[in-house]
């Protein structure tokens, strides 16, 4: 397959990339991947058994400090790992635990919480969903209303969360709740809990999101949790949440590798297809379009590499991460739309249609919206670039 040249400037990174690729060839590609792909589409991308294999290899918590059982690998190595995993479509059921819960516990957790969760996350044995968004709290997360009230030694949680990816599959939820209704500003009254989703009082209603997998509405009715389930102290949740966001910044690069994979598949099709006896690859319009998309994927990769370099130098990419997210998200939309133009009616067909030219592309298009609106919409990201990157007045 012809793909854009990816070069790592550091030989150690190239070596690690090769190691990951070779490991995936043995432990993912082949029977395990084939079995995974025989599942209904909505159940793919989630495979706790595979997570335990990755954990046993020591590749969960690559960037975690050694004192917490991680490998303290460089951001460039982490990025290379994410790229290889994403390019292989290898499932990472442990992702929320590894990139959000773990780093937050290292910073804000009690020794007991760390001992309870960190080793289990590293072994790939623990899965988390995020409990952030609510009917009245999307981009404006600080106005969330799900509340926890003190009752003796316990907290009692009531409310509703929305759009929780993996909410129907994960064992735990990383839950943001209001613990002070009168707090000003609003975000000063938020706390974070780790709650078992198997607990009495929780109702989970999955529905299918447009990309073909589930997200869930979760209802909390007098859910009783011990004080030890709270992370980072009462009303300190906003800091716990925003610190955790900083730890996921290198992860955005994974989205770019997934785009690269889709472009490669599209390119492969164009290389061998014929329309009316003429090779499709000679079509000047298609060549122009693919050339433009390839250039943009290279740019997206450079954005991801910059984030890794900044983290490596001890900085927190802020507007730079926002930029990467906007660019990669909107690029996926462009890629999906271009694929439809290139493939014509055939582009409408999914992988379930035997005659589909490149069956994944219509899913890429449906999926693209999630990258633009999820985890902070493109408009919120542009606000961050304008205010934090350019110093424009509020």
């Amino acid at each position: 397959m012809t793909t854009l040249p990816a070069f790592d400037l550091d030989p150690a990174v190239s070596a690690f990339r090769r190691e990951v690729r070779e490991w995936l060839a043995v432990h993912w590609h082949g029977e395990r991947e084939a079995m995974h792909n025989r599942r209904p589409f909505k159940d793919r991308g989630y495979d706790p058994e595979f997570s335990r294999l990755v954990g046993a290899k020591g590749w969960i918590g690559l960037g975690w400090p050694k004192e917490f059982g991680g490998q303290a690998r460089s951001p460039a190595e982490q990025l290379a790992f994410i790229e290889e995993m994403e390019y292989a479509h290898a499932p990472r059921s442990h992702l929320v635990g590894e990139t959000i819960v773990g780093p937050a516990l290292m910073r804000h957790g009690t020794p007991e919480q760390r001992a309870k969760y960190l080793p289990a996350i590293l072994r790939g044995e623990m899965t988390f969903a995020l409990g952030y968004s609510e009917p009245e709290a999307g981009s404006d997360l600080a106005s969330l209303r799900t509340r926890a009230e003190r009752d003796g030694e316990d907290w009692v949680i009531n409310g509703q969360k929305l759009w929780s990816t993996g909410g129907d599959k994960a064992e735990h939820v990383w839950l943001a709740v209001r613990t002070d209704r009168d707090a000003k500003p609003k975000h000063a009254g938020i706390s974070v809990f780790i709650v078992s989703l198997r607990q009495a009082g929780i109702t989970i209603r999955p529905s299918i999101a447009m990309y073909g997998k589930t997200f869930s509405a979760t209802f909390y009715e007098n859910v009783r949790v011990p004080a030890s389930a709270m992370v980072g102290g009462v009303n300190n949740g906003w800091k716990v949440i925003t610190d955790a966001l900083a730890a996921e910044r290198v992860m955005i690069g994974g989205a770019v590798a997934a785009l690269q994979r889709s472009l490669d598949h599209l390119t492969e099709y164009v290389k061998r297809a014929e329309i009316g006896g003429r090779p499709l690859r000679e079509n000047a319009v298609i060549r122009d379009r693919l050339g433009a998309l390839a250039a943009e994927i290279e740019v997206a990769r450079q954005f991801a590499l910059r984030n890794a370099r900044l983290v490596e130098a001890g900085h927190t990419p802020l507007y730079e991460a926002a930029m990467t997210k906007v660019f990669a998200g909107e690029l996926q939309e462009r890629l999906g739309e271009a694929a439809l133009d290139i493939l014509g009616s055939g582009g409408l067909l999914s992988e379930d249609a035997p005659s589909a030219p490149v069956g994944e592309m219509e899913q890429v298009l449906r999926h693209s919206i999630m990258g633009v609106i999820g985890g902070g919409t493109a408009e919120i990201q542009r606000n961050i670039i304008a205010i934090r990157g350019l110093g424009l007045p509020r």
């Binding site: 000679e282 050339g291 390839a294």
Partner: protein
């Protein structure tokens, strides 16, 4: 193309940028830059200054700076709206460095460029990337033909041309043309069309692949100039958004303006990072550097042009007067990005890489 591994540190690059920016601020201030661009005396003086700083030697010795540094200096020239033909000198230096040992003409031209006594203008002709760029041929030891879209022909002491040859490409070094006709338009100073009729010239033969690499470097230099101009124009628009009040508030408080400028920063950063990546790939002798370069050019073309359009929108009529600084950035950006095949050629190069050539030999 061979090139030695670069040993320039990030600190040294910052120092280089500051030095060039400081020198240009003093000797090529924004005030009067338009007038100076068509003043032969002023152009000669800035060329002497660039030579004194050792910048006309860039490309000759990799120890003194690789493509990263070359692009950085081009970016500063673009930023200052200084049309000195530095990258023409760089290309001649690169040609000489890579084994034009037998070519005395090349060596002496290099010496003259380094001392500031020569100014080169390059006409890629048949190798331009633009089908309308003309071509020259060799007949009876002389050069004949016409080449279009040549920059800085008016101040040039030497013309560097290229002729297709059975064993590769012949580099033609002519110290005069039969005629030089300015072709006015968006580019300032105007591009020129050169005619040659049996003109005497020194000839140096090189492999065709080296010329392809050289043309790609020329495109990167143009893109770097455009990047500098786009960055400067954007900074003016940003400053304007922070100080201009309408409807009782700074226009930079409107999200319509904020998001526009946020997207401009994304385009500038994307173009810069990818240009740097291609230069780094070249300096590290990675075989695929021209592909990364094609990606940089394919992205930078539309992206930087959009940046200057949005900057103009933000500035409103204040940036629309020809006496203002903005129009010359507008001109520079478009001229530098449309030349040498522009975005279409860059995308085609990527398509060739991904899909194979459009029409394979049957």
């Amino acid at each position: 193309m061979a090139s030695e591994k670069t040993v320039i540190s990030e600190e040294e690059r910052t120092l280089l940028r500051d030095n060039v920016r400081g020198m240009l601020a003093e000797e090529w201030p924004i005030e009067g830059a338009v007038e100076r661009a068509s003043d032969a005396g002023a152009m000669n003086r800035i060329w002497q200054s660039l030579a004194r700083q050792g910048l006309t030697k860039l490309g000759f010795d990799a120890e003194e700076g690789g493509l990263r540094e070359i692009l950085l200096v081009c970016e500063e020239l673009g930023r200052a709206s200084c049309p000195a033909p530095l990258f023409s000198a760089v290309l001649v230096n690169l040609l000489a460095r890579q084994g034009g040992g037998a070519a005395e003409g090349l060596a002496s031209l290099c010496d003259a460029l380094h001392s500031g006594s020569a100014v080169a203008a390059i006409g890629f002709g048949a190798f331009d990337g633009d089908a309308a760029a003309g071509e020259v041929r060799l007949r009876d030891g002389g050069v004949s033909g016409r080449v279009a879209f040549v920059e800085n022909a008016a101040s040039a002491t030497h013309f560097v041309l290229f002729v297709d040859a059975p064993a590769g490409v012949v580099v033609v070094l002519a110290d005069a043309a039969s005629s030089v006709a300015a072709t006015p338009g968006l580019a300032v100073p105007a591009l020129s069309e050169l005619a040659f009729t049996g003109t005497n010239a020194a000839l140096v033969e090189i492999p065709a692949a080296r010329l392809a690499a050289l043309a790609q470097i020329a495109r990167l230099c143009c893109a770097a100039q455009a990047l500098g101009a786009a960055q400067r124009g954007f900074e003016l628009a940003l400053e304007h958004a922070k100080t201009r009040k309408q409807f009782g508030q700074f226009i930079g408080q409107f999200q319509a303006i904020q998001h526009k400028l946020a997207d401009c920063l994304t385009r500038l950063d994307g173009a810069r990072l990818t240009l740097e990546a291609s230069a780094t790939a070249f300096d590290r002798e990675l075989g695929d550097w021209p592909v990364i370069a094609a990606a940089a050019l394919a992205y930078a073309g539309p992206a930087l042009r959009q940046v200057v359009l949005e900057s103009h929108h933000t500035m409103g009529a204040i940036g629309y007067a020809e006496e203002h600084e903005m129009p010359r950035h507008f001109r520079r950006i478009h001229a530098d990005l449309a030349r040498l095949g522009g975005v279409n050629r860059a995308r085609a190069q990527l398509a060739d890489y991904l899909l194979g050539p459009a029409a394979p030999p049957r």
